[in-house]
């Protein structure tokens, strides 16, 4: 395979030079400026050196700058190349290093093009009736599945090329839900802009609010108080639990295990109800804000811990039943197999990567907020199939419960401020990152005179959807629903 990594030591010299030339940004962030002509070359060196690509976009501050983000040696590497004008676009050929790069560059080029010529169609304005590839062969045809699908699902389209049963090839088309939200941030004060962040991917509202708030805090040099960091961790873990329980309930539904489905739906409803009692919103909205959290919890810590105990008791029994039901597990074992090498090529993140033996988790790689103190056991399974991804989620549910309990203990021991004021006319640029339920989420923020000027969102779903095209190596059409649910992604987050 041409994507195989060469030995790291042969490149060590070049890489060390790259890293040595970098300027430390806010903590955990390394910044490197290169001329536009060397932008592509730097990508190549980083690819060879084993960096993980996150995103590429154009920033506006201080001038126009192509910006590439990488996870590299436990830090976030920001590669920046100043350019002269908007029309100047990075070379599409850069996609040869990581397939994820190509999609990110396509999106960048496409958005600029769409702004220039109104009504133009590209990947951000897909045509639902367009079959992109023609297929040839005996009884081979393309099923355009979506964007309107049976059931209550988000809009996305899969063009399935099939001979009737086996899935010969598949193309996932996103951006049916593109709402242009990144441009909505501009001109808002950070404490208002966080409402936009919460609505990029509604089911991961807390993760988006935390990532955005952390980016603002790092850009302006504000440290949120400890108590606020603990509450953020509790809210984030509850959100992860709701998302994971949702995936497990849907897995039970697709195998017609209806009592199991009902049980996990009830558990999810309990978590949602608990979030409503804690924050006033079933999705934990309106609480996390740049500087800290807006208000104290609406219920006592003892009530929270009692609720957590109840959920854990039920979860133990339901998990045991679920994993002991052969009609369920037989459908999942071996379905939707993803090779570890594929995960690395596509720079996939989250439970998807951890189900294929890749131990990446932003909470561990670059610990932020309370995760610097909580200590995390990363749940990894090597099998790479739908079952492994369910097992990762079960493991993380219990890990979340443990961390919530630990954070409650810490909250009990002391009281303190919940929020720090932001400087009124602060300026700066920085990244904020969290491990959202779907995987690592990075948000880049530019602030000028106390107002948000630009935002770029590297959502985990955008990167992970690309792998769906490769999730059917030996699976048939009837496995579609299991495999889709085992990914557990949001379309809203990918489309923005």
């Amino acid at each position: 395979m041409s994507m195989a990594k060469p030995k790291a030591e042969s490149e060590a010299g070049v890489l060390d030079r790259i890293v040595a030339a970098g300027q430390p940004g806010p903590e955990g962030e390394l910044r490197l400026s290169v001329p536009a002509a060397e932008f592509e070359g730097t990508f190549r060196e980083l690819f060879r050196g084993g960096a993980r690509f996150i995103t590429v976009f154009r920033a506006e501050t201080p001038g126009l700058v192509w910006t590439g983000l990488f996870a590299f040696r436990g830090e976030l590497l920001v590669v920046r190349a100043p350019v002269d004008d908007r029309a100047q676009m990075p070379d599409r050929g850069m996609g040869r290093w990581w397939p994820a790069t190509e999609r990110a560059i396509l999106e960048l080029i496409d958005r600029e093009g769409a702004a220039a010529q109104a009504g133009g169609r590209g990947i951000t304005r897909p045509d639902p009736d367009l079959i992109e590839r023609s297929v040839e062969g005996l009884d081979v045809f393309t099923i355009p599945f979506g964007p309107v699908r049976s059931g209550i699902f988000e809009a996305i389209q899969f063009q399935i090329e099939t001979g009737g049963e086996d899935v010969a090839s598949l193309q996932t088309r996103t951006f049916f839900k593109h709402r242009g939200l990144e441009s909505r941030f501009a001109g808002l004060r950070p404490e208002v802009a966080v409402h936009v962040a919460e609505r990029v991917a509604g089911v991961a509202a807390t993760a988006y609010a935390c990532a955005f708030s952390q980016a603002v805090e790092r850009a302006l040099g504000v440290e949120p108080p400890l108590q606020a960091q603990r509450w953020r961790a509790i809210y984030s873990e509850l959100e992860r639990m709701a998302c994971h329980l949702d995936v497990i309930a849907k897995q039970a539904e697709t195998t017609a295990l209806y009592v199991g489905q009902a049980r996990f739906q009830i558990l999810k409803e309990q978590v949602q109800g608990l979030r409503a009692r804690l924050t006033g919103s079933r999705f934990g909205r309106g609480v996390v804000a740049p500087g800290g959290v807006r208000s104290d919890s609406l219920i006592a810590l003892d009530d929270l811990s009692k609720a957590i105990d109840g959920i854990e008791r039920d979860l133990h029994r339901d998990r045991r039943l679920f994993l002991g039901t052969a009609s369920m597990t037989d459908r999942l074992v071996g379905s939707g197999h993803l090779d570890r090498a594929l995960i690395e090529q596509y720079c996939a993140v989250g439970p998807l990567a951890r189900g294929s033996g890749v131990s990446i988790d932003a909470r561990h790689e670059r610990p932020y907020g309370d995760y610097q103190r909580l200590g995390l056991r990363i749940v990894v399974h090597r099998e790479g199939d739908a079952m492994a991804r369910v097992n990762v989620r079960f493991g993380e549910l219990f890990e979340s419960l443990r961390m919530i309990r630990q954070a409650i203990d810490q909250l009990r021991r002391r009281t303190g401020e919940l929020s720090m004021p932001l400087p009124v006319n602060g300026s700066g640029t920085a990244c904020g990152w969290v491990e959202a339920p779907q995987g690592e989420l990075v948000i880049w923020v530019e602030i000028t005179d106390g107002v948000v000027r630009g935002v770029h969102i590297a959502s985990p779903s955008f990167r992970n959807w690309a792998l769906f095209d490769h999730a059917f190596p030996s699976d048939v059409l009837t496995d579609f629903a299991f495999i889709e649910h085992s990914f557990g992604l949001t379309t809203a987050g990918a489309d923005r």
Partner: protein
């Protein structure tokens, strides 16, 4: 398998009794924003809202448009004399104008007349109503809340609502999201193939009035990413505001759409 059956039965009944008995929200639940004191507002109040839901008349009368309100609470925190969170779930309405609260009596949600055409249509639906959903650019949370209607807690099948995968079998179409450009044609087609009588329910603030969509007033119409609300594309029968509306609120909207609530119940 027996163990599953035992497990299901042993937990007892969890289903809500709504709408026969009122559903009470937990303490502090932020279901909606109320105008608690509509008089004596200044123009600074309108500036508090990121979506422009607050309007202040020249005489200082304050109104709030729930079709635009994303329940962010910025106004409640900055002007607690005028605004407060309300925990009532029943915010769905049959007319767009009825979503504007703080108006003088007579124009409020309670007085909104049932559209005659809808009453006729709803009369034909009665107690076996098939529901179809289409996502036109929501943030994903509305889908969770609609899915929750079929979970054991809300169990909307007990009221005669069934989910159907074919628009040709559907009586009610639930639409989420502000209608993005690529979803406009699929939405129109889905609506067109549904048989009469039929009702269209806009679920969520994004669907009702556009919500926090990209500020595209300056852009060329064709280049705007969204239409800014379902009623810009198709006539809406019931509006369910909220960001996202909770399952009980969506249930309220569905009952309104099906004509299953008598006018006095609908008024509460």
């Amino acid at each position: 398998m027996l163990e599953w059956i035992y497990r299901g039965l042993s937990r007892g009944r969890v289903t809500t009794r709504y709408p026969r008995r009122p559903e009470h929200a937990p303490h502090g639940f932020q279901a909606r924003v109320e105008v608690v004191h509509p008089e004596g507002g200044g123009p600074q109040l309108a500036a508090l809202c990121p979506t422009g839901a607050i309007a202040v008349a020249v005489d200082g009368h304050v109104t709030l448009d729930r079709g635009l309100c994303i329940v962010c609470g910025d106004c409640v925190r900055a002007a607690p004399d005028h605004f407060a969170f309300g925990s009532g779930y029943e915010t769905a309405a049959r007319a767009r104008a009825a979503l504007i609260v703080g108006q003088a009596a007579g124009l409020d949600a309670s007085a909104s007349p049932l559209r005659p055409a809808l009453a006729e249509r709803a009369g034909g639906l009665r107690r076996s109503i098939h529901v179809r959903h289409i996502d036109c650019g929501s943030d994903g949370s509305e889908e969770w809340e609609i899915q929750a209607l079929w979970n054991p807690y809300y169990d909307i099948q007990r009221l005669g609502f069934f989910l159907t995968s074919a628009p040709r079998h559907a009586d009610v179409l639930l639409v989420t999201g502000p209608v993005t450009t690529p979803m406009r044609a699929p939405l129109e087609r889905t609506w067109a193939v549904m048989p009469e009588p039929k009702a269209l329910v806009a679920v969520g603030t994004d669907a009702c009035g556009g919500g926090l969509r990209a500020d595209d007033r300056t852009a060329v119409a064709a280049a705007r990413p969204t239409a800014g609300g379902v009623d810009q594309v198709l006539p809406v029968d019931v509006y369910v505001p909220g960001s996202p509306p909770s399952p009980t609120t969506i249930m309220h909207g569905l009952l309104l759409a099906a004509g299953l609530l008598r006018p006095q119940e609908a008024a509460s």
